[in-house]
């Protein structure tokens, strides 16, 4: 039996009933939690009811089915509506619905993939739409499956630049498998949005980017249904449905009222009565779309990297991802200078089981820091390569230098931070990230560095390499990346001065090799850390943290060398010298420390 035929039989009345039921459950969940965003849920209830009943192809019993559609709540604060949909579909029971926002519940204040039907965490506005673009790209170019991606946006979040990166990218790729529904309820958190109910203002803008636009009354289920059908039937263009709605729709006390954002309704029982009382759930799961794509099972990991996808931010010549593009054009994606869209696309791709690596200058990853933070909230696995780290890039000056990247990436929950110092180590660590869960960061140096390691050497994540160890070492120099070479030079200079120095290559900044550092503390009592990064949050802090769990009996004297003044333009060598992180500076610090 074809699903479409079945769904045609659903009457308008039943759609309206379903919408009211979603509203009631949004009210109930937020009342039970005594927090949350019922009014932001109620405005979009009709939109989601029609989607769930008639257009969303999804088997809730099998969230990983390849043909399942994808639904992203970019307005993540409307999570009560999403969870109400799950209840209506029978995916969760009433007791779980009412556990909303309580300790231990997977129904968090904003959706996360702790719930199996959620692809990515949302709640930072402006993120869901570019992730949707990533899923639509995945469907079209990687999975090659006919699933559709649906994104529910708020109107407020259209002020975020990230959504315009997404509008541009989706239209240029003619992603007609993507439909964005904007719940234009005209009220943001603190008051009216800039454009209010002027959906034409949005349509002009989004239309100019090449989207098909439809403006509707977002509470008229017939108009909504027609819009979805039109969206699905539009070829060569993504569609945005701009739906005029009322925040808090259906309950007079809050409908279209300011000051009702992010609060449970004042009188939930009255509200439920006003909405027609508690309905009973029972929307059954529809079937995924069928199609013969490149499903995950068809791409076994044993085919060695066949699920690796590379994303570029218009610097593939500098980052050298062009080599991958030449060999695997079908798995290379150019995002131009749009780091947020690039990162969000990686989130979408990994949600479908692909293994994305994205690369740009490390400095410009700061543009996507929110999305990387949210990647961790969403338990996503993405691999990020940041090139042009530190002052050693030389003449281009500080705007192009990643000097805060170690701090930023270490502060992402569950992250891995690697910082190789030569080509062979880089190759191995790059490969190692494929199997790494969470957000991984590979910090890369711009210039050519000497090759000090054997090809194919082992560099386990969480390990280190101890160079020049000796039992009578008087001082340890802990370095990574470009400073490893300076440290080796310093160690030679120190030998000439009668000081024996151990050098540790801490290529794994997080997790760090605590055992080796503790051994060094015992052996030498003195550790100098040296890094091409600001003094805050980098390698030095990572080393200090090893000795800060209150258990160590031997605390080493530590001296951290790092960049402490704003650099200008200069040669790489001069930059390292001026920052006090070159061999000479290390030698000087080591002599002082060794004699202390």
């Amino acid at each position: 039996m074809d699903n479409t035929v079945l769904l045609d039989r659903i009457s308008t009345d039943r759609l309206q009933d379903l919408a009211q039921q979603l509203r009631v459950d949004s009210v109930r969940a937020t009342a039970a939690a005594n927090s949350g965003h019922p009014t932001s849920s109620m405005s979009a209830a009709d939109l989601m009811a029609v989607l769930l009943a008639r257009h969303f192809r999804y088997d809730f019993t099998d969230p990983h089915a390849a043909g399942n559609d994808h639904l992203i709540f970019s307005k993540g604060h409307a999570s009560p509506l999403l969870y109400a949909m799950y209840r209506a579909a029978g995916a969760i029971d009433d007791a779980e619905l009412l556990s909303y926002r309580s300790r231990g519940s997977r129904l968090e204040g904003h959706p996360t993939p702790r719930v199996p039907w959620v692809d990515v965490a949302t709640g930072s506005l402006g993120l869901g739409l570019p992730v949707g673009v990533g899923l639509a790209l995945t469907g079209r170019y990687l999975d090659r499956l006919p699933y559709r991606t649906w994104v529910l946006c708020g109107d407020s979040e259209l002020a975020e630049g990230s959504v315009w990166e997404a509008f541009e990218h989706a239209a240029c790729h003619e992603l007609d498998n993507l439909t964005v529904v904007v719940d234009v309820n005209r009220l943001g958190q603190r008051g009216p949005t800039r454009h209010g109910w002027d959906t034409a203002a949005y349509a002009r803008r989004i239309g100019a980017f090449g989207w098909h636009t439809i403006e509707i009354d977002g509470h008229d289920v017939t108009e909504i249904d027609r819009a979805y059908t039109e969206a699905a039937g539009t070829a060569g263009q993504p569609t945005v449905i701009l739906a005029r709605t009322h925040k808090g729709r259906g309950v007079a006390a809050v409908e279209d009222q300011q000051g009702a954002h992010g609060k449970p309704l004042p009188d939930p029982d009255q509200a439920i009565r006003e909405l027609g009382g508690r309905g009973s759930p029972g929307w059954r799961s529809s079937r995924p779309r069928s199609g013969s794509g490149r499903t995950r099972s068809g791409l076994a990991r044993c085919t060695c990297g066949a699920d690796v996808v590379v994303l570029d931010g218009e610097v593939s010549d500098s980052t050298r991802t062009q080599c991958f593009a030449d060999e695997h054009p079908e798995r290379f994606f150019e995002f131009y200078i749009a780091e947020q869209q690039m990162t969000a696309a990686a989130l979408g791709m990994q949600a479908r089981g692909w293994t994305p690596y994205l690369a740009t200058f490390g400095a410009f990853l700061t543009r996507a820091y929110d999305f990387l933070r949210m990647a961790a909230v969403g338990r996503a696995s993405v691999r990020v390569a940041g090139t042009h780290a530190g002052v050693s890039i030389g003449q281009d000056g500080p705007s192009q230098m990643a000097l805060e990247d170690l701090a930023a990436f270490q502060a992402i929950h569950g992250s891995t931070v690697l910082y190789p110092c030569d080509a062979n180590q880089t190759a191995r660590l790059t490969a190692a990230l494929a199997d790494r869960r969470g957000v991984s960061y590979l910090r890369l140096t711009r210039g050519a560095t000497p090759v000090i390691y054997e090809e194919g050497g082992e560099f386990p994540v969480g390990g280190s390499r101890v160079l020049r160890p000796s039992t009578d070492d008087q001082v340890t120099i802990a370095a990574a990346g470009i400073t490893v070479h300076e440290a080796l030079l310093a160690a030679s200079q120190l030998t000439a001065r009668g000081v024996s120095a151990r050098v540790i290559d801490l290529y794994s900044v997080k997790p760090i090799d605590a055992a080796t550092l503790r051994q060094a503390a015992r052996d030498t009592g003195r550790i100098i850390t040296v890094e091409d990064h600001w003094a805050e949050g980098g390698l030095g802090d990572a080393v200090l943290e090893v000795f800060a769990d209150g258990t160590d009996e031997i605390l080493p004297i530590v001296r951290t060398l790092a960049v402490r003044e704003m650099p200008g333009s200069a040669s790489p060598e001069d930059q390292l010298a001026d920052a006090g992180i070159d061999a000479r500076a290390i030698t000087s610090a080591a002599l002082t420390l060794a004699r202390a």
Copy 2:
């Protein structure tokens, strides 16, 4: 003598000569430096020649003149062109031009305010335009002066979401004092841009946002001149001039060629001959615009905060900046959910001597991290308040929690990071930031906390408050913000268990009160740090760094308590308990440590 009359006499030939001179000097500067972006400069030379000669009102001998126009090179890599303009205007001499990118030169690879004619550092694409919006807002609404703001953008950077935040904001504020010139040279760093020379594609998009658009041949000085005149004469709308140009214009070896980005020309001498040889500079400075605005001098700082401006990211009800808006609507700016534009606007405002404070949820400041990093590169002074810090926000869940903000802001060069724990302290520290240079961050808690300090108390930046000190203290608890209250509770619990604990309120996380911490190390030998932040880059690391300059004779045993698992939704109290940063956890850690 009216300047306009004078300029009308300049012949087309002389404009072309000036343009060629700018090209020649761009080639010479990059050849001398053996690095830089001559081709990106050459494409825009005609555009900038006509601007400099005929439309830009600026007294190079008095860069702080209130009536000066503002010119922002959003494509900061075209700095050779900017410096060539300075030479043409007689602001720098030839020797300085040729110091480009050399050690110590203020003519860095990308412009910074080390050069007095530069308002803000650029070089991270997508930043200059929103800063230009900030300057135009300042001219219109704060300074109330007739100066114009001109922004030179590259075409590649129109892929950045931040520029669309700017297009939206500028049009909605009808900033007809803003003109954006897009150098559509069709070639990005790695190859063709998405839209190539299709200026109509850009015009449709930007026009839909409400801008006046003009498409021209960017090498035709007559068309350029006419476009500037049209822009200046357009009322109620900002204007974008979309200029089709050739990258590397004027030198056959590189003109419109791929692979010529960011490199000195292969044969500079030949190129200079091809461009007509070295001209001689001698463009004299034009006069600033005159007008009676609210100039800086009219707003003496003694009028107590009269230069304070508050910027909101659509959360003024939560951050409580609404109070300021109610009292000073003329100095309150709503940016809706567009953190990049909000931050960039602050950069523009401070460049004109205003004292901007911007506020939103701390978590969402990650959206503007690149701009905050660039603020430091540009020696800008902006004050940032981030609310809803840490797990203690409770039910909303991790997407709304600032848990990496201490790391991110500490890693901004020259930053100040403050974290008050009660209302009186917050008031004093907020006021203290007005006089603070650089990027300042005020971390704020969502919930109500007990008031423990006297009204009007002194809380110097770089200081701390020692609570419950005693000569026989056995352990020190270093806390800030919400954990101060947990620490005080723990200290009471510890007293009951026979352990005397000193509590230090480290409200100044950066700079930190090293002397007080060293005293605590001497007195107690044991320090517990406790923070509502990830373990990386926060308060704990800041404390550890105090003892990492290699000089300390007494190293304390340190134990860092911080958030180490991804939180979900729960009550604030449960969140603190689950993260192991509540009074009970502190007490337990202190007992262990005190007995170690």
